[in-house]
Amino acid sequence: MNRGNRILLSCTYWAFVLYVFVPLFLMILMGFKDSKFIGFPIRSWTLDWYTGVFSDSEILYTFGYSVVIAVLSTLISVIVGVWIAVLLEGRKFWGWTVTFALMILPALVPGIISAIAFRIYARLLGIEPGMGAIVWAHAVHNVPFVVLVVMARLSTLPKSQIEAARDLGADPLIAFMRITLPYLVPAILGASVFCLLLSFDDFVRSFFLGGYEPTLPVLIFAMLRSGMSPEINAIATVALVLTAAVGIWAERFTRRANKENQA
C-alpha cells in the first residue's frame, strides 16, 4: 500500500477520534465555567458546580438508586444468561434455531418499542412502574448480551476437561460447578460489567417504566428539558468518569484473564 493512502487513512482515524472525544471534552470543560450560561467564551473558572452536586442529597440519592438498579438487574441477567448459554452452546436439539432467535430478540427490538412493550407487559403482570419494573426490564433486555459473551467463551472450553471430571465420578452438576463455571469467570465478569453499564446508562426503559423517582439519565433528561446549566455538566461528568473507569478496568481485567488462560 502506498504511503499517501496510509497517511490519508490515519488522518480519517484521528479525525474520527476527534469527533468522538471533542463533544465530551467540551461538556467536561463547561462544567468548570463560572457562569450559569453554557457556551463560549469562558472567562473564569469554578468548582462550585461540583461541590453543589456532591452536597445535593437528591442527586446523590439518584446516583445510588441507579447503581442499585444496575446491580440487581445484572445479577438476574447473569444467572439467566449463563443458564441459557449452557443450554444453547454445543448442543443440538429440536427447535435450537427458534430458541436462539427468541434469546436474541430483546437486543434487536428498537429502544422505544422495547420500552413500551415492557410497559404494557408490566401492567399485565401487575408490576407497578418503579424500581421493580425497571430492574425487570433491564434484566430481560440485557440477557442476550450475557448469553452471547458466555457462549463464545464456552465454545473454547476443552471437552476433555469435562469428560475427565465425569470419568472421575463427578455428576453433571458438580462438573459444571467445578470445571465449567471457573472457566467462565472472565466471560461472566466481562458480561456483568457490560450489563452494569447498559443498565446505568439506559434512558428509554427507565423513562417509561419509572415511577416518581428518576434514574440518573432520566434526571439529566428532565433537567435538560428545562434548559442547559453547568450543573448538568457536573452531574454528567461524574457519571462519565464512573462509567469510563469501570469500563477500562473491566477491559484490562478480561484481557489479562484471557491471556492467563491461553498461557
Binding site: F16, W83, F93, V109, G169, A170, L224
Partner: protein, 328 residues
C-alpha cells in the same frame, strides 16, 4: 468403565484442589444431594429436561411475552378492558395510522432518516475500520480500538448533551467558524435534522465500526498482495477484493445501526425540532396519557417494528445474493 461406586466418590474428592475439598466432598456424600443427583441424572433425557425447562419458560414469558401482549393490546378496541364486558378485537387502531398525516409523516421521516444515517455511518467508519485492521500493528490495534470504545461506554443522554453543547449557537463549531471569519453570526445548527443526524451517528458509529473491523481483520493480507502482483491498482483491489469480502460485516453493521436508529427517543426530543418529529415521539405520545390511548400506541409500535424487520430482512437477503454473485 466399571468403577465401584465408592471408588468413584473417592476420585471425585481427589480432583479437588486443597482447601476446596471438604465442601464438595461433603456435598457429594450428603444423602439428600445423592438422592437428588440420582433422580436428576437418571437418563440423558431427564437431564436435558431439567436443564431446558427454566430457559424455555423464561424465553417464552419474558422475551416473547411482551411482544405478544403488545400485539394483543394493539388489536383491542379499548384498554384496559372494562370489567364485565367482553373484549372486542378490531383493526381500527391500525387504520388510524393511515388516516392522518401527523401519523404517517413521522413514520416515513424516521425510515428516511434511519436509511440516510446508516449510509453515512458506513461511509464514515469504513476507512477507520480499514485503517485499524490493515495498517496498525496487533499491539496498537487493541489500544487504538480501546480509545474509541471508551466514549461509547458513556450513556445516550450524556452524549446527546455533549452534542448539544458542540452545536449550540455559542458552541465550539460556531466559535471556530467565527474565528476563521467564515461567518458573522452563528449558524443555527440545533433543533434541525442536521443536529439530530450528528447526534444519532455519534451514538451508533460503534455498532458499525466493530462488525466492519472484525470482517476486515479476518481478511488475509495475501489476497491483496496477490491482486497487486496480478497488476490490480489500489482502487481495483479495493473494489474487487476487499469490498466483496467484507460484505458480511457491512450487512450486519447496517442492520444493527438501522434498527437502533429507528428506536431512539431522547435524542430526537433533545436535538430535533418541530419539523423533525420522528415516529418514536409519536408512539411515546400515546403512552404519556393514562391508558385509553395504549391500543393505538401499541398498533403504531407494531407497524414500526414489522416495517423495520421487513426492511432489514430484505436488505440482508439482498446482501446475501450479492455475496453469492461475487463468489460465483
Amino acid at each position: 468403565m466399571t468403577y465401584d461406586a465408592s471408588v468413584r466418590k473417592d476420585a471425585a474428592g481427589a480432583t479437588a484442589p486443597t482447601g476446596a475439598r471438604p465442601f464438595w466432598g461433603r456435598l457429594v456424600q450428603w444423602g439428600p444431594y445423592r438422592a437428588f443427583a440420582a433422580l436428576a441424572t437418571a437418563s440423558p433425557r431427564r437431564q436435558f429436561a431439567i436443564l431446558a425447562t427454566f430457559p424455555i419458560l423464561w424465553l417464552l414469558t419474558q422475551h416473547l411475552g411482551p411482544m405478544v401482549q403488545m400485539g394483543r393490546v394493539s388489536l383491542l378496541d379499548a384498554y384496559p378492558v372494562a370489567p364485565g364486558t367482553p373484549q372486542t378485537f378490531t383493526l381500527d387502531n391500525y387504520m388510524r395510522f393511515f388516516g392522518d398525516s401527523i401519523f404517517w409523516m413521522p413514520f416515513f421521516r424516521t425510515l428516511a432518516f434511519a436509511t440516510i444515517l446508516t449510509f453515512c455511518t458506513l461511509i464514515l467508519t469504513y476507512p477507520v475500520a480499514y485503517f485499524l485492521a490493515r495498517h496498525v500493528s496487533r499491539r496498537n490495534q487493541m489500544l487504538m480500538l480501546l480509545l474509541l470504545l471508551v466514549p461509547f461506554w458513556v450513556g445516550e443522554i450524556v452524549r446527546t448533551y455533549a452534542i448539544m453543547i458542540l452545536l449550540g449557537n455559542t458552541g465550539a463549531v460556531n466559535l471556530v467558524l467565527k474565528w476563521f471569519g467564515l461567518i458573522d453570526r452563528p449558524i443555527p445548527f440545533m433543533y434541525t435534522g442536521f443536529s439530530m443526524g450528528i447526534g444519532i451517528v455519534y451514538l451508533t458509529a460503534l455498532y458499525m465500526l466493530l462488525p466492519l473491523y472484525s470482517a476486515l481483520e479476518k481478511l488475509p493480507k495475501s489476497y491483496n498482495e496477490a491482486a497487486a502482483d496480478l497488476g490490480a491498482g489500489a482502487w481495483t483491489r479495493f473494489r474487487r477484493v476487499t469490498l466483496p469480502l467484507t460484505l458480511e460485516g457491512i450487512s450486519s453493521g447496517c442492520t444493527l445501526v438501522f434498527l437502533i436508529s429507528t428506536g431512539f427517543y431522547a435524542t430526537p426530543v433533545l436535538l430535533g425540532g418541530p419539523s423533525t418529529t420522528v415516529f418514536s415521539e409519536t408512539i411515546a405520545g400515546f403512552f404519556h396519557v393514562a391508558g385509553d390511548q395504549w391500543p393505538t400506541g401499541a398498533a403504531f409500535a407494531v407497524i414500526m417494528f414489522v416495517t423495520a424487520l421487513l426492511i432489514t430482512g430484505v436488505f440482508q437477503a439482498f446482501m446475501k445474493a450479492l455475496r453469492k454473485g461475487e463468489k460465483a
